[in-house]
Subunit: 131 residues, 2 copies
DNA sequence: CCAAACCTATTACAGTTGTAATCGTTATTG
DNA sequence: CAATAACGATTACAACTGTAATAGGTTTGG
């Protein structure tokens, strides 16, 4: 039995989700405020996005008096995994390495990135061995 | 002076571009045919996509009698670089490693991927040294 | 208690996208 | 030559997006 098959989340909707992935549950106003540390978003716009996310099943809420407290229905990691896979599929025909190569080639790889990658590879190789 | 600032390319439009990245220039019919090795696309639909890509500036064409021969105006690598960067920015706040970690964690990393990653890292480190 | 403030829900509206059909023009075929 | 087929261009149309404004109901400040 698979999940209710969440509809696609648009880029602006994602910004709302990101806020709630950092902290939840939050009221609509909390979300508006969080988003307004930085780029400006009109309050009405944010509320529309919240509403759409609820309709798409990406947010749930509990009543708190007259207002609602919203929370995500999916974990950030799940979202990231699914999006990564579909992105890599769409743009790179499913191959991961060319993406990393692109970063390397355009000087977007930092020392830190490389260190982390090495660590991931080590972990992966260890995993393979004792499996 | 930056480029004419190409509009966004939709997922279905991308399928058309991919065909032309493999071989160009091609007639509309060649493209239709290429796309119909596999998933089915209605001829009219494909022609619409081609037209939109031309309007977006992502395709150019030369006349060949009554028909046109189309070709991409941007290289696949450029497209991939730009999309990767915006994807990683949007979904991972700009950090590459977590994407790779996600692949590793969900058993999507193949032996081959890892071999390629190691090679990329080696190359990167060599590059750093003699710079 | 009544008006003002505040919630969420509903409505708006143009641009994009997926998916085609139709139009106008040129080429082709009988 | 006349009917038809084949092209690209234009038009269609609903769903999704970005960006809000309005409506309807409740709370609260005076």
């Amino acid at each position: 039995m698979t999940q209710p098959e969440l509809k696609d989340i648009s880029p602006t909707e994602l910004e709302v989700l990101k806020v709630l992935w950092q902290q939840a549950p939050l009221s609509a106003n909390d979300i508006v405020e969080a988003l307004n540390q930085g780029g400006e978003w009109h309050e009405k716009t944010v509320k529309t996005l919240i509403n759409r996310l609820v309709n798409k099943g990406a947010l749930g809420f509990k009543k708190d008096g007259r207002a609602y407290l919203y929370f995500p229905t999916l974990a950030e990691h799940s979202y990231q995994r699914k999006e990564s896979q579909s992105f890599i599929q769409r743009v790179f025909g499913g191959k991961l390495a060319p993406l990393v190569a692109g970063f390397a080639g355009s000087n977007k790889l930092t020392q830190e990135d490389v260190a982390e990658l090495k660590q991931l590879i080590d972990a992966w190789e260890k995993e393979q061995k004792h499996d």
